[in-house]
């Protein structure tokens, strides 16, 4: 079996090399046969990598410990679902998984472009094959998933207990999907640079890929935060750890990219910027893998040193240099005649939104590599922790939220004063009123007041937009309100899906602000029967229950939660787990989540034969809304991605007959051209 995996990976490498040669030869010599054959080679490559993945999966499920990988990351007692997820539990497996996704996406892109984009597609597919070659070289020669052990152990050393969690089952695949799918728009951008076909064709052909990537990066980050929240037991969900930052930076840059390509599609400006952003996004996915695998930057959950670092760094540098050279080479052709006219225009708002997003990404990057830089320059490793990231990103986030309110409502090119008043009067009132209510409710922190006011302002602008579009529809096709609203979203999904993403972002932002500023914490050691309080809750420790299985032993505390008037609300069961292989303790947090606040109970320690337990309890307001906002963002993205062809033409015709001005045309979603 393992031999089959090795063989498949070797053949995949050869096919990838062949596909590059055939694609480029076919494109240069105008030989369609070669392009067809290159495409078939990519599909065959995908089949080979799939075989390797299946082989590793079967080996994991059969607990074939003759494989080093299986022995290191699985065991006979590991629940089946985690045997399955062990595929990405270790380095070799996760690289194989990465390569698999890449080969699948490459195959899909090859299929989509079998007749489209004849000029740039062969080059884009060659770039994708080039990236695949790097990963296949790693899998064939550096970090081989099918290496055998000289002596077969009777039992594997099991998956890290922290990873035996359902969030960990879905977080890495989401993130990888987001990372890897960003390669497709990057490849088309690079192909546009190589061929000199520098119109927005490459953007249009990969718009869905970019959104798809953003969708999974969003989910990946959210799942990771949720995992940290449920599993790590420190009451928070984000620690600005290098590994988290590595996942966050591509998200920021992709967000910027998705906004700025809209300006290029509309105004034919920012070509260099867009090409740079997609290059940066791809580079950051490699950088993320580099820092998590190289051990250059120490992280609390670092994946320790491995030999992969130098390879990734070399690849990253090569890609960056080659791509920059292409950009410089084409710089003359990339100048565009169009220009920005006014600060009070949507393109200006988008431009500043881009600056903020890239600024945040840069700050995160700087803070992440600062220890390395300071050691190189001053000889002393200086780290910056969460306070740095919060201080820099706090104000930038406010700016971003403000622009989120402005951007969608002001017109392209320039806006009149009259338009400003008409669009923004209601949202400004809503925002100010929210600030006053919050202040009256006792909030005295200026940041929180500003944040809540701005959040309400943005929600107000989105409401104004929905109302306008709904009224325009009712005016034109005379539908009842609810139906108009549904049709508005369904038929202009790109625009209104985007607004739903904005609402989700704001909701998540409120959750982040609330949970960051108002979290309270109590640490207490208590005897069975004793109670203590946090906020308006009283917690009574009733006792411990112990269980023991071959896989793990656990001690579960019964914690009765009482309201202020002494009524029992619930009984919570935080636990300590002791995994048998490797022998390692872990914490199972108990969380009672409500929209107002989360009660988060950690059994931090057991002493004195179980008569005394140490608890760490957090009361975190509004954190519920972070997850709710994340779901809304995902929902909005699905709406944006939803195929929408049938209604477009109809609407375009309806609009061309009506007498509305340009502004209102945009309002109900004149086809955005994709």
């Amino acid at each position: 079996m393992p031999q089959l995996g090795n063989l498949a990976l070797a053949i995949a490498l050869i096919l990838a090399v062949y596909s590059i040669v055939a694609n480029i030869y076919g494109a240069r010599r105008n030989a369609p046969d070669f392009i067809v054959s290159a495409r078939h080679a990519l599909w065959a490559m995908c089949a080979m990598v799939t075989i390797a993945v299946v082989v590793l999966w079967i080996s994991l499920l059969r607990s074939d410990f003759s494989l080093e990988y299986v022995a290191a990351y699985s065991s006979t007692t590991l629940p089946t679902v985690y045997k399955f997820t062990s595929l990405w539990g270790g380095q070799q497996g996760s690289l194989l998984f990465w390569t698999w996704l890449l080969s699948i996406f490459t195959s899909i892109a090859a299929f989509q472009n079998r007749r489209r984009n004849p000029e740039i597609a062969p080059y884009a597919l060659a770039v994708l094959a080039g990236v695949a070659i790097f990963f296949l070289l790693m899998l064939n020669f550096v970090t081989r998933p099918f290496d055998l052990l000289a002596t077969v152990p009777a039992e594997g050393s099991d998956l890290n207990p922290l990873l035996q969690n359902y969030w960990m089952a879905i977080h890495p695949p989401s993130l990888y999907t987001g990372y890897v799918s960003a390669t497709v728009p990057f490849a088309f951008g690079a192909a546009a640079l190589m061929t000199g076909k520098l119109d927005d064709g490459w953007i249009r052909s990969t718009r869905r890929w970019a959104i798809f990537s953003w969708f999974f990066l969003t989910l990946g980050n959210m799942f990771g935060a949720r995992w940290a929240y449920e599993v790590l037991g420190w009451g928070g969900y984000w620690a600005w750890d290098p590994v988290e930052n590595a996942a966050f930076m591509p998200w920021l840059v992709m967000t910027a990219y998705l906004h700025s390509v809209m300006i290029q599609e509309r105004k034919d400006v920012l070509k260099v910027w867009n090409l740079s952003l997609i290059g940066l996004a791809f580079g950051l996915t490699l950088f993320g893998t580099f820092i998590t695998r190289s051990g250059v930057i120490s992280s609390v959950h670092s994946f320790t040193q491995s030999g992969l670092g130098p390879y990734f760094l070399s690849f990253l540098i090569t890609v960056t240099l080659a791509y920059s050279a292409l950009l410089i080479f084409r710089s003359k052709q990339l100048r565009s005649p169009a220009e920005f006219e006014s600060y009070l225009s949507r393109e200006a708002a988008f431009l500043f939104n881009n600056l903020m997003l890239v600024g945040i990404a840069f700050a995160v990057f700087w803070g992440t590599i600062f220890p390395v830089l300071s050691e190189a320059v001053r000889g002393v490793k200086i780290t910056v922790g969460p306070p740095f990231f919060n201080r820099v990103n706090g104000p930038l986030a406010l700016g971003l939220v403000f622009l989120m309110g402005i951007g969608p409502l002001i017109a392209w090119r320039r806006t009149t004063a009259d338009n400003l008043v008409r669009s923004f009067a209601a949202p400004v009132i809503i925002g100010v009123a929210t600030g006053i209510v919050a202040a009256a409710a006792g909030v005295r922190i200026w940041y929180v007041l500003t944040a809540f006011s701005l959040a309400a302002f943005v929600l107000g602008t989105v409401l104004v937009e929905f109302r306008r579009g709904m009224n325009a529809r009712r005016h034109m096709v005379s539908e009842p309100r609810a139906k108009a609203l549904v049709n508005l979203v369904a038929k202009n999904n790109r625009r209104y899906g985007g607004y739903i993403i904005h609402i989700g972002t704001i909701v998540a932002f409120v959750g982040i602000v609330g949970s960051s500023f108002f979290r309270t914490e109590v640490k207490k050691s208590v005897h069975a029967g004793d109670s203590f309080s946090i906020g308006s809750y009283t917690l009574r420790f009733q006792g411990l229950d112990a269980t023991d299985t071959p896989h793990l032993a656990s001690a579960t505390a019964r914690v009765q939660v009482l309201s202020a008037d002494g009524r029992e609300i619930t009984v919570m069961s935080p636990a300590k787990l002791f995994f048998k292989r490797p022998q390692q303790p872990a914490t199972k947090v108990a969380i009672r989540s409500t929209p107002a606040s989360d009660l988060y109970v950690v059994l931090a320690g057991i002493d004195d034969n179980g008569n005394t337990a140490t608890f760490e309890v957090f009361l975190t307001p509004l954190v519920f809304w972070l997850w709710a906002g994340g779901l809304m963002m995902a929902l909005g993205t699905v709406i944006v991605m939803w195929p929408n062809v049938r209604e477009r033409a109809a609407i375009a015709t309806a609009l061309s007959r009506s007498t509305t001005d340009e502004r209102e045309l945009a309002d109900i979603g004149a086809p955005g051209g994709d």
Partner: protein, 151 residues
């Protein structure tokens, strides 16, 4: 791409503001990240300075008082790591460690993974007597990503 000159003012202002924010925040929030031997070498100049110390928990003499949530232990140096990520050999566990510091962490529960021989990062300040008053003790996650074993 063509942007009117006055746009450069806006773009420039934002870039400068972000740059200043980063610069200023680095200055006020940075901590020294040191290994145990580095702490020993610079002990005199570190008084009052926030530090993060990476080291390994020394066996023996570990105190844990659940009532006050106070953890006391000795932190010793990490084994030297070679370029290949493997500890430089030989690292003899019986050889006397040249330096170590007493760590007192109060008010925090004991981390799950905390045990003798584990790698930890201690955040806090070092006192005149060479005791590190820790605000946080983090155990490095013993993740299984690791270099290939030497054959």
């Amino acid at each position: 791409m063509h942007i009117r000159p006055r746009f450069f003012i806006g773009v420039g202002l934002i870039a400068v503001a972000i740059g200043y924010l980063i610069f200023n925040s680095i200055r006020t929030t940075s901590e020294y990240y040191l290994t145990v031997p580095e702490v020993a070498a610079r002990q005199s100049e570190l008084g009052g300075q926030a530090i993060r110390v990476a080291g390994r928990v020394k066996p023996g003499d570990i105190g844990w008082d659940p009532n006050t949530l106070t953890l006391k232990f000795e932190i010793g140096p990490l084994p030297e790591v070679g370029a290949d990520g493997e500890p430089v050999k030989p690292v003899s566990s019986v050889a006397a460690d040249p330096v170590s510091f007493r760590v007192v962490a109060a008010g925090e529960p004991k981390p799950d993974m905390f045990a003798p021989g584990r790698d930890v990062i201690v955040e806090g300040k070092i006192g005149a007597d060479g005791t590190i008053a820790a605000t946080q003790v983090m155990t490095s996650c013993p993740s299984k990503y690791r270099p290939k074993q030497a054959q």
